[in-house]
């Protein structure tokens, strides 16, 4: 992945980028520069603006404010810009009555590949994605995971300069996830930049050079993964599975607690450096039957987000 190359020109640059929707949602004042070989993660809860931002970067949505350039070009409809983007949007939309191979062939040609090159690359990518045997099946017969893998094939086939992926590991099995990580690492080594919207903290920690935390449409924190993790360095996360609701106020008032949040029947608590988990249990004194399980573990990017916003990332704790 990418080393520090401050002087390298940006493949993509966003300044004050805004897309406002009527109901007050959208993304606002986004600043982003993307250099060749860089892998950037967009993280945030549902509705935080990850998908909107990715659509703007992918030219699938039009900004209502700010500037956005790709390879120095600000025209999102310029075919020469789009030909260098590889896109996997949140919905794995395909021509359902056509086979997987027919779909991929169409997109390969739309992005400028000829017959021979399409055939060669698609053969390799279908093998890589595990779709070889299903290539002549109609997409309507594919599972969600297969459709998403086909999306990846279509996004990768023309070897884009910028790859934009929305939740790329969603519905993928562990093996496919590892294959994807390896592929993206190789792609970044060849100079392509990758932006991925994800709440998979393990993927982000393993793959991303930099992460942008989005909350209510704004970037609330940006940094390199090790820098962000220092926010919670030495801290620990306590997960309590509770049998009935508990008040968080008493927990949050403890000096030992940096952040606390409830998600279903699980309470996530970030303990300050050196704090003892027993202090948390002391608050719940007299309600010992309230807690059915308790886990203590090393914190990750999801905990940084929780500490910053008080909101848990969906599936951040998996």
């Amino acid at each position: 992945m990418k080393a520090d190359t401050v002087s390298e020109p940006s493949l993509l640059a966003a300044s004050g980028l805004t897309r406002a929707y009527r109901e007050g949602k959208g993304v606002f004042d986004i600043e982003l520069r993307l250099a060749g070989g860089e892998v950037v993660g967009l993280m945030g809860p549902n509705g935080s603006g990850k998908t909107t931002l990715l659509r703007l970067l992918a030219t699938a949505a039009t900004p209502t404010g700010g500037q956005l350039t790709w390879f120095g070009n600000s025209n999102p409809r310029d075919p020469s810009v789009r030909r260098r983007l590889g896109i996997m949007l949140d919905q794995p939309a395909h021509f359902e009555q056509m086979t997987g191979y027919q779909n991929a062939w169409f997109f390969a040609h739309q992005f400028g590949l000829g017959d021979d090159l399409s055939r060669e690359r698609l053969d390799e990518l279908f093998r890589w994605s595990g779709l070889s045997e299903a290539r002549d099946q109609r997409v309507s017969e594919y599972s969600l995971g297969m459709k998403r893998r086909l999306n990846l094939v279509e996004a990768l086939v023309h070897r884009p300069s910028i790859l934009l992926l929305d939740e790329p590991t969603l519905a993928l099995d562990y093996r496919a996830e590892l294959d994807l990580i390896e592929r993206l690492q190789l792609l970044s080594l060849t100079g392509s930049a990758v932006v991925l919207a994800t709440n998979d903290v393990h993927l982000a920690e393993r793959l991303c050079d930099r992460v942008l935390f989005l909350h209510e449409g704004r970037v609330i924190r940006e940094g390199r993964v090790p820098e962000l993790l220092t926010e919670v360095a030495g801290a620990r996360e306590v997960q309590l599975q509770v049998n009935s609701p508990i008040g968080l106020e008493a927990l949050r008032s403890l000096p030992a607690v940096q952040a606390a949040n409830v998600e279903g029947d699980t309470v996530h608590i970030i303990l300050a450096r050196g704090a003892n988990p027993a202090q948390v249990l002391a608050v719940l004194n007299g309600t010992a039957d309230l807690v059915s399980t308790m886990r203590v573990r090393r914190p990750h990017l999801g905990d940084v987000f929780l500490k910053l916003t008080g909101v848990a990332l969906p599936s951040a704790h998996r």
Binding site: A60, R77, P79, S80, R82, I87, A93, E96, M98, W105
Partner: protein, 235 residues
């Protein structure tokens, strides 16, 4: 079959949907056979066939594009390295061509039944093509307003019915201003060409109808390109 271009893809997908293909070919014949073979008054036959051509294209493209918008395919089209105008022209002209093929059996039926009206055939073909493309464009624009393929039918019919009336398709236009308005609408030329080719008494000459049909066909292609961004980039 592999398709690398937008128009090829439309044709391949259509050809692969055999049931839809058969229904599309049979449906117009079900309307046309009784009208053309039973010796129904030509004004009724021409009226029904004009309505058929106007609605076939509009409903087809409206329903397909609404479904694509819901499934996320419109977003994918939006990211293709093709300008929106060219993309919409390529899609709608191909769909218009498929609709034209769908109506070929009807045209052959008319030709067999009224072989002496050959002078009207250039006008009939051109005005039919123009109406089919304008119908497809109407459906495409309607798809941006609707949330379901069922709802799009409403948005298609609402403008088409008054326009068909103003084209003199339902009743002869007697107020002095209405015939002038009808000349500004593509449906009137198809209606006149159908009247002529069915052996009726049209108000226009064949060459006037050819000019009208050609003008609207060229205009429809230009308008389709102009509407590209409106149709493909509306959220």
């Amino acid at each position: 079959m592999l398709a690398g271009t937008i128009w090829q893809r439309e044709l391949v997908e259509f050809a692969q949907r055999r049931r839809a293909l058969i229904i599309k070919l049979v449906f117009p014949l079900l309307v046309a056979v009784p009208l053309v073979l039973s010796g129904a008054p030509t004004i009724y036959a021409a009226m029904a066939l004009t309505m058929l051509a106007a609605i076939v294209g509009a409903l087809g493209s409206g329903a397909v594009l609404t479904r694509e918008r819901q499934s996320g395919l419109t977003l994918r089209y939006r990211t293709l390295p093709v300008t929106p105008g060219r993309l919409l022209i390529e899609r709608l002209t191909t769909n218009g061509l498929i609709d034209f093929v769908q109506l070929v059996p009807v045209l052959l039926l008319i030709a067999v039944r009224h072989p002496s009206e050959f002078a009207w055939w250039p006008a009939l073909l051109l005005s039919m093509a123009a109406v089919l493309l304008i119908g497809n464009l109407t459906g495409a624009v309607a798809s941006t307003l609707s949330d379901s393929p069922g709802e799009v039918m409403l948005y298609v019919v609402i403008p088409l019915i008054p326009l068909l009336y103003l084209s003199g398709v339902f009743t002869p236009l007697e107020q002095p201003v209405l015939p002038v308005i009808s000349r500004l609408l593509p449906f009137s030329y198809l209606y006149q060409a159908l009247l002529g080719s069915l052996g009726g008494q049209p108000n226009l000459l064949p060459w006037e109808t050819v000019l009208g049909g050609f003008g609207f066909l060229v205009g429809a292609i230009g308008l389709t390109g102009w509407f590209g961004r409106r149709v493909l980039e509306s959220d």
